[in-house]
């Protein structure tokens, strides 16, 4: 991870924390696209790897 990516991580995390996670995640109503296709919904299901992939298997 580059220094720029670290800073972006912190900036995004701060935004979520300062605004409140439920507000950010739950109240976003404008759109970057007009529709969400089934393929895009399926893509979302492939996101967020299990924590073990970052932390290693639990002992």
């Amino acid at each position: 991870m580059t220094e720029e990516e670290r800073k972006l991580t912190i900036a995004l995390a701060r935004l979520v924390l300062e605004q409140g996670a439920p507000l950010v995640f739950g109240a976003i109503k404008a759109s970057r696209r007009e529709t969400l296709t089934m393929e895009e919904v399926e893509d979302l299901r492939q996101r967020c790897p299990h924590p073990d992939e970052y932390l290693g298997p639990e002992n």
């Binding site: 670290r6 979520v16 109503k29 404008a30 299990h50 924590p51 932390l55």
Partner: protein, 130 residues
């Protein structure tokens, strides 16, 4: 690591300013799919970035065992809620049923709560580790 995080962060800020200004020409069900999809996408970006930073800290032996245990506990709860929401959204996109909508809404609310807990705990560690 995806390079679209700047637009996403900027979009999040812009979207917060525009709260309540959803595209009026979409049906209620289309807006529901869109809103939940955007929320999940931003939640996924936040989680993946945060966990990638945590992995770097762990690999560099800069996290204690207790800290790793705590992060694992919160992130597993988030992970389960996120995937319940994503599965629910996929089902709702197909069925448009009220039951799938309610299940998805409940899961995204849980995911957002656990994401907040994860960030509250992990952000100071990430900043300290820079």
């Amino acid at each position: 690591m995806k390079k679209r995080s700047i637009p996403i962060a900027l979009a999040a800020i812009a979207l917060l300013i525009q709260l309540g200004c959803g595209p009026a020409h979409l049906s209620k069900s289309e807006r529901s799919i869109l809103t939940t999809g955007n929320a999940l996408e931003i939640a996924a970006d936040t989680y993946e970035r945060t966990m990638a930073s945590i992995k770097e800290l762990k690999d560099a032996d800069r996290l204690s065992k207790d800290q790793v245990v705590k992060i694992r506990k919160i992130s597993k709860a988030y992970w389960a809620a996120y995937h319940a929401a994503a599965d629910g959204l996929a089902a709702y996109t197909r069925t448009l049923s009220a039951a799938d909508y309610e299940r998805t809404e409940k899961a995204i609310n849980e995911a957002s709560e656990f994401a907040g807990q994860l960030l509250e705990y992990a952000l100071p560690l990430i900043e300290k580790g820079l």
